[in-house]
Amino acid sequence: MTEPIAILDQVSYMYPRSVEPVLRDISLEVYRGEFLGLIGPTGAGKSTLCLTFNGIVPQFFGGRFFGSVTVAGLDTLEHPISHLAAHVGAVFEDPETQLIATSVENEIAFALENLRVPREEIAARIPRVLQAVRLEGTEKKHPHELSGGQKQRLAIAAALAVQPSLLILDEPTSQLDPVGSQEVFATVHELNKELGMTIIMASHAAEEMAEYADRLVLLSHGVIEAIGTPDQLYAEIEKLEHHGLRPPQVARTFYLIHQANRLPHPAPVRLKEGIAGLHSLAQSCRIIPPDHLPPPNVHEGTPLLSVKNLKHVYSDGTEALHGVSLDIHEGEYVLIIGQNGAGKSTLVKHFLKLLEPTEGIVTVGGIDTRQLTMSDLARRIGYVAQNPDNQIFNASVVEEVSFALRNLGYPKAEVEARVRETLTAMGLWEQRDQHPLSLPKGDRARVVIAAILAMKPEIIIFDEPTTGQDFQGARYILDISRELHRMGKTVIVITHHLYLMPEYAERVIVMGKGTILLDAPIRMAYHQVELLRSTFLSPPQAVSLAQELTRWDGRDFPLLTPEEVAACFSCSQDRGDR
């Protein structure tokens, strides 16, 4: 790994209309055959940095560019993008937008055709790259027929087909469910280790980056803050948290243990090493089982939302739900998890009457939803979808928040009063006359939530609120959900990010193949590791460490977070006393 394949020398860059540089004085060497991870909060400049390698920055965007980038010996300012494309493959975040052809084989052939590769050679490369990403036999399929993970693997195959020196992946897993994400990381890892492909990947997936990357670059506000191995960077917890980043849970757990017990650093950053570290700590420290874990809240009485023997068959014959029964009581915070296609969204759509049961009954407040209109339900159930920008249709924040109230026929005075109350509560009153889309992304999400809260719904559903968000963005939305829960609202959250939820959710519903596999308090559900794995969900690393502790110690450690695991270790004078 000594020969650099790409060299960035004092690169600074400003987009045409930006007021300050997105990249500042970046100098970096990328070595042949390495897996280089780019980490940093949203807006750090990771995507821009990725686009400098294939010349799209600055050739396509324009703007002011300083310094130089050399890839495979070619200066990216001196060679056209179409020429650089033969050396640098690129895979982007959104699986939908980046696939442009109407069949798998045409998707792979597209760049090769543009590069004037002969037809026979294209035909020979297609099966080879499909095999490399394990998509054999899909040549004639339409990309729409593939799952999210398969689409990203197809994008990787298309990039590989040009036989590039360097493969750039910009957040390739952020839109994917856990299975899709695992598929992509496994594929990239294989390409790197078995074919020696040089990889540059920007990602927020801390646990996977610790596992697979050789080196990490920490980027913040366009500046390289640190370069090092995952062991070096992820052990610097305070620095990561200062930049709004989440370390792997293993690293955070050991950091907390070391801090509390004044043990020397460094901490392990991968689960396997964490488990080994746990064994060695367990031999030298006192392990105190948790004695005051809060019991799960019990909600009784008439359920607010009830589903009995629900079955739903789509018009094409797909049975999306069968035998689903559940009760949700007032004031609960429920987490629904499961793979794409498990039936989560189909279930939630029945609460809102976006879908009607093929069989079974759904009641809200004791009333069968068949007797209610969607407007009736909108008063009682607020729904926050994944992308806030698709839920903004008005020219000002005030209009946006009053939209639903006007539709529901409230008197003008009440509309005004509710809008003022909601905007003040959400800290948006000052921005009331601005166009919602002119606000920063976090504020746009708040506008959408405010628009829903103005209806004063009893139940609020957040559908994948953390997808595509960095750690701070996801926490921000979940903190709002917790506030609403404290105000007495019933909150339902659908997410794939299990590690984020222990601080928020009380109850977990695990769905798989159109039915409920488990419905239990979060402390119990997260420890049903085999069941979670059967539906391709992995428990957070802190849960795995707690399970290891249980195995080692024999007592029960139903822990969920790094803080809870760390609190079990006392490594002072009385070492060895178990």
Binding site: F60, G89, F92, A111, D316, A395, M455
Partner: protein, 283 residues
């Protein structure tokens, strides 16, 4: 899935096996003939042939029904305007000095009293209706029966600039995505208490216009992303590239091209000599 499939037929047929170039000739010839013929009988026959061919090729009846439903208000307007007001042109075409009255408003009625609808005017209106229907339906017959990649290669071989052909195919690729976004936005509006089903047409138009803002913004973000993707795949729009799929004309394709060229010649000759397709002519 249904969204994705609406642009192509699922049935393998004579039309799906044909190269895009004879289909291009077919679309051109039928459009010219539809444009030239003024006789409602001949025009109606041509529309019928196109409809039957579309159904045989697997174009969904639902699609044809949708096209006709959308066009109905326009057709009613055509019948009324031609029936009542297209007097001079119809007289000139038929050579008649007086048109046959089909219907007349009583002269005592204010404003419209004495207004007269003529049989010939209505027939001319029918002719315009058949013209537009043929033009609207021949396009799906040619395009829905062609896989997009064959369609691009066919267009490029027919000397359509590659960039233009690509833009067309990219549009087809992104139409289903756009539809699913529209659906998502309207769903979000309905979940904020918007009862579209209880609204009048004007209010609905107002509501749907609000979909445009997030849709256009989303489309702008997507189109920039698409440009970045295309650049990273060495796309320059240059026709100087290779193609995975060959586009070779087979005997059937040549036969069809010859057939449509002969059909055009025959139609023009028949129109000029025996007046076939002329308004008020023998057929």
């Amino acid at each position: 899935m249904s969204m994705m499939r609406f642009q192509t037929v699922e049935r393998d047929s004579f039309f799906t096996r044909m190269d895009f170039r004879p289909k291009l000739v077919m679309m051109t010839v039928i459009s010219i003939i539809a444009f030239v013929w003024e006789s409602p009988a001949a025009g109606g026959l041509l529309t019928l042939v196109v409809v039957v061919a579309s159904l045989l090729a697997g174009v969904k009846t639902g699609y044809i029904r949708m096209v006709i439903t959308i066009m109905i208000p326009f057709y009613l307007l055509l019948l009324l305007t031609h029936g009542f007001f297209n007097v001079d042109q119809v007289k000139a075409l038929t050579g008649k000095t007086e048109l046959t009255t089909l219907f007349m408003f009583p002269t005592t009625w204010p404003v419209i009293g004495g207004g007269r609808m003529s049989v010939e005017g209505v027939l001319y209106g029918l002719n315009v209706i058949f013209k537009t229907l043929t033009l609207v339906l021949v396009i799906p017959l040619g395009i829905f029966t062609t896989e997009v990649d064959k369609f691009i290669v066919g267009m490029v071989r027919a000397r359509v600039p590659y960039k233009l052909a690509f833009i067309f195919s990219a549009t087809l690729r992104f139409v289903p995505l756009l539809f699913s976004e529209i659906q998502g936005i309207i769903e979000a509006q309905r979940l904020r208490g918007l009862a579209v089903e209880k609204m009048g047409p004007l209010k609905r138009v107002q509501v749907y216009s609000k979909v445009a803002v997030p849709l256009i913004l989303g489309a702008m973000v997507k189109s920039q992303m698409l440009e970045v993707v295309l650049q990273s795949k060495a796309f320059t729009g240059s026709p100087d590239r290779t193609y995975l799929h060959e586009s070779v004309l087979g005997p059937l394709d040549y036969l069809m091209i010859a057939f449509f060229v002969l059909l055009l010649i025959a139609a023009v000759v028949a129109y000029l000599t025996v007046g076939f397709g002329k308004f008020g002519g023998p057929f």
